[in-house]
Symmetry: D2
Subunit: 380 residues, 4 copies
């Protein structure tokens, strides 16, 4: 009931606070026989971790995972898998400021209103720190997608403030292009338009110096997804992916395919048309364009899944902001150091993880039902 689980057939459940002992995830429904190591987990954890570049928070966290259960002799056993990431940057601190003051844009007030009790250290459970175990779970999910249908997830930043990349074809963007510049140096902002990426970096650096923050947009693409994932009615693929993305802190908007742009379009402009090729006597059906974003009727079409999320500017600012205390007295607050001036670079691996988890879940859900079909008609 309290919302700390996601998924059905592939289900993650998490616990942990920003400044408590650590965060833990239990993954239920992992297929047996999948190789998983700490090194596998670190690939994406390092993409999310603090201090990875100048334009993200400089908080110190190694984010080193411990696999507590579910892996034996290097492969998954099929029983529940648990991963623990201890918090390290728990130095003794003066939290008196945020103990009684409600930080603008944060969940301090809403947690107090809901529970009456609150772990006020760095946001406690509301902190995005909990996303580290989601990213670890995402690595397991990505392995399932890769094993099951060669599925690949690629996320990247398309907009930071007024700087907006025009991505001609989302299906051509590679992880290499997102993570590195042509010369092999890291691309800290994760925008695949490298020219624009340089501008974004400078812009974010200026925002940081201003003690302010800036919003943006990221796009996430899933390739090689077969037609058939997603369920009718409530658990449409687009619905569950949207929930997954909106479950990430700071996301204010999600769209797929033509998105909000569809509002000004006619059906004759927005509809994609089915086309077919024959492969060894079997028709392979696709569409001649992808304004539908990879799903129709809530079910994947076999075209790339393409989603975008709008991420708000970080609420923590070095600039002084007016607010109130728990007892309602007017006051001001200024966050002391080390926030992300722009959330987007670290958002990318989190969004990828949530998309991967959603797809792994839907794939397993579908297979259960398929497996029991007595015989399918021709051509399908």
């Amino acid at each position: 009931m309290a919302g700390n689980s996601f998924g059905q057939a592939f289900r993650i459940t998490t616990a942990g606070e920003s400044h408590g002992p650590g965060n833990v995830v239990i993954i239920d429904g992992v297929p047996p026989g999948i190789p998983i190591s700490v090194e596998d987990l670190l690939v994406d954890l390092n993409r999310r971790k603090p201090g990875q570049s100048k334009i993200v928070t400089q908080r110190k966290e190694a984010d080193h995972p411990e696999i507590l259960a579910g892996v034996f002799e290097g492969v998954t056993t099929g029983t529940s898998l648990a991963i623990l990431i201890r918090n390290e940057d728990q130095r003794s601190k003066d939290y008196s400021d945020i103990k009684d003051k409600y930080r603008p844009g944060h969940a301090d007030y809403t947690y107090d209103a809901k529970y009456g009790f609150r772990d006020y250290r760095g946001g406690g459970r509301s902190s995005a720190r909990e996303t580290n175990v989601r990213v670890a779970a995402g690595v397991v999910a990505k392995k399932i997608l890769q094993t099951a249908f060669g599925g690949q997830i690629v996320g990247y930043v398309t907009q930071v403030g007024h700087l907006k990349a025009e991505i001609a074809d989302p299906t051509t963007i590679t992880t290499e292009q997102v993570e590195q510049f042509a010369d092999g140096t890291p691309n800290p902002v994760r925008c695949p338009d490298h020219g624009l990426a340089q501008e974004m970096i400078s812009f974010i650096d200026q925002i940081r110096k201003d003690g302010d923050s800036i919003g943006g947009v990221a796009e996430v693409v899933a390739l090689n997804v077969p037609p058939g994932l997603g369920e009718p009615v409530f658990d449409k693929l687009k619905a569950d992916i949207a929930k997954a993305l909106f479950s990430i802190p700071a996301v204010l908007g999600v769209e797929y395919g033509s998105g909000f742009g569809c509002a000004t379009m006619r059906g004759s402009e927005n509809n994609d048309h089915f086309v077919a090729e024959q492969h060894e006597g079997t028709p392979v059906i696709s569409t001649d364009s992808n304004r539908h974003g990879g799903s129709l009727g809530g079910i994947s079409t076999g075209q790339p899944l393409v989603f975008r999320a709008a991420v708000k500017p970080t609420s923590s600012l070095l600039i002084e902001q007016p607010t109130v205390t728990r007892s309602g007295e007017a006051t001001t607050i200024r966050t002391k150091g080390r926030h992300d001036p722009c959330l987007l670079p670290r958002f990318v691996p989190i969004a990828e993880a949530m998309l991967a988890i959603t797809l792994a879940d839907h794939w397993l859900r579908w297979r259960a039902q398929c497996e029991a079909t007595p015989e399918r008609p021709d051509h399908v």
Copy 2:
């Protein structure tokens, strides 16, 4: 697993196809003692039903509900409530066209790919016809919100094609303003800007004559929602509402508060600030603006919840469109009559219903946990 349920504490499960015997919903978790009648259900069913105006589909469906269970002597019993709406417009028809041809923008192909079997009559389970029982369940949910905290849901159309209303303050829009013009005549397009509404009606009528369709945007607002609804991490209020809205056919985007507009904003511009008034010695905390859209950290703040959804133009067109058959042969298709030239007017009650269902669910989920708190500290 197959996605035909929504919610946890207030949970709806549906079945039914477009041209089968009918649609049915079972609602689990309804509190006892709530008065529900067929007349109550009809209020919103009539706002969704076909044929209600010139600018919607002219299909004939009375959409008359039968309460099968869960109501005794006019009030809910607390046990599962079932509502059946029979299909009436099941006249013998020639479905050969859509039996073998994949309609662009529809789920014909994806259902075939997923299941191998498909009820091809009018889209079967993928048809938006199933939303009639959601609207019926939404009436029950609205009653719970009203009983529990005076909650009100108001939805309306803000954009049809290029015609876009500027809503200065979403909290002032009333259902009367949405449903009627000043002279008491029905407002078939459900845009509260009555001047623009007249333009929208003419525009949709022209689109209809063109045999085409047009997209748009609707906004849904929940008033009087107390602070505290929504769960940390995965079942954030924004996440579950987004899932609810994306579960409606044709929705391509959802945003709340400043939405995609946040991408170009600085934190110092986007943050709302907490303010407080004292009521009989107790601080009442609110924000001086509502760019956050009513939730922070996934939990309601007590400010109005404000969501927008982008709805694509109807995929069925009178215009001939290219497509393929099940066996992959190129062909063309032209939908014969009676589609909605614009989905938005009938989308409004469906979106309201899904928002109400999500809020009723979260309210019941929260109460379970609250109820067992031994004692809450002061001021909260």
Copy 3:
């Protein structure tokens, strides 16, 4: 939350009261392509229905099902399947007796205590009348078991009062033996020991004439279940089957394998030993006895699943019983006519249905996970 659903991958949700319009079940997760007809449903519904013999209730209910959704052209579509069974015996009645008096052994008082509101007509939601749609859903589940692994479910009565059958080998009992005597006439008590069955019939008839009722025990066996069904820890097969059986009204005990008899046994007596045969180079492993009842560690072993349930004597009696009214005044009550003098004969198809539903669910749950295993080691 309100408990009207059962299962995960194969999930049934029900609504309905004893004297309301009818009962309805929605089945979510049915594989596509399975032939289902009203005639299929009637086979088991007729085994459960009132009036089928002299030793069961003479209430008049045809229990004729209507398939509302999920079946097209005779086969399941993979989308949610709904079945409605209308109540027919709703004649105008004087319910004043049970409106205010709490019937001993019934749920009148507990429903009042829980909800404050109660459909007092014949027990409302607490009546075993709701099991008719479970039996219908059980037919669908049995088809899945049959299709998937040739699974067969056979239930029968082993005890009525002091009359107790010794079943040497549960795996040899056939449905024919349970349903018919050697001469082809119906076996109304469903005990496969035909000599004892005749005694049971006479005994129940005497109990009926006394205005009293009698308890008993039924055994249910599942054959051909492959090893691997059931989940570790909480959703052990034995746990979910026990829940399924205890969810049937009047069940006071469930045991499997050596059951309560294990309390007096030593490990060296109770343990079954593994044995193996080689089939075309692959070892086929079984046990030399079946005191474990078909599952170990909560997972099926490939041996027959054998469960027993103790069913209490019907609470409704023609004999006058002391009780109290809602306001706490002492009174007496005597049920007017038409109750089952012994629940066991009609319990058999209900228990079979719940076992079938549980197995179908677990089979689908398992397949989801298996399907994604990259490669299994040898010999397994």
Copy 4:
């Protein structure tokens, strides 16, 4: 899907193996404001832990819990609570025996059949070692019951082999009586009949010397449970409690109230009769006997809940037993040391925990629904 969660409103999810790093539980739905300390957890953990007396396994495990999340400044925060218990007795061992041989009565074979992969060290996930975190979660549940309605859970052993205690009135048994003899020394067998307890201890000691094991029965009682817990139809209180008890390894039977004894009873003998007293003008309704075991129609009556579970003799024996290897070759196996000669003494706190968790879940589920009832009629 993989069965590692239990409960809905109060939901536990676990991971961990017998000889892996440890076991972890995440508890979702804990009300805020409940004091929880490591010392609280240790009370019941010490009752379950190995080595507590001569008649249980001598394996060395301190079972010291670490609270990873969900408790701040000594009280629960309302967000997910995590507890980790590391395994300590992980000494390097020769597992070659059980790696390839299927131990009789254990889950070695079924795990292999299900997953193809298996953590063979000490049973891995199938070991009862995972129940240590259930007991920790049970402490949290017991606190909720105590806070909410003064609920108390008392479990005890009633039978070991042929030694069977006659408990005249289960409601009078106290934890003190179960845990200690009259002179204050520990009662290691947890049978409240102290004379019989001494016989049981000697008997178990003899069984241990024989290298064998013995079965038994435990009874668990919940006191002060108000009327109203439990849900109609599938989630009946008796059904969920039975599932909870059957989810514990080695349980072969569960019964409540008159249990299997009901089979030989007439309704006129088995029915309990309602009686009432007036307390300040309000009727307080109870029953004059408790053969129903505390629930009717699946909902608690306000009478004590009384359940019994049959527990099989430990499968691990010092005596040599025949079995087969993974490849199907006949062999023998003899467990080397340190098993429980009788599971019952350590079973008691585990059964208490599962009953407490089930009741906490149902209480929270009920409160959600109640809370929203507009107004209840009189006398209820």
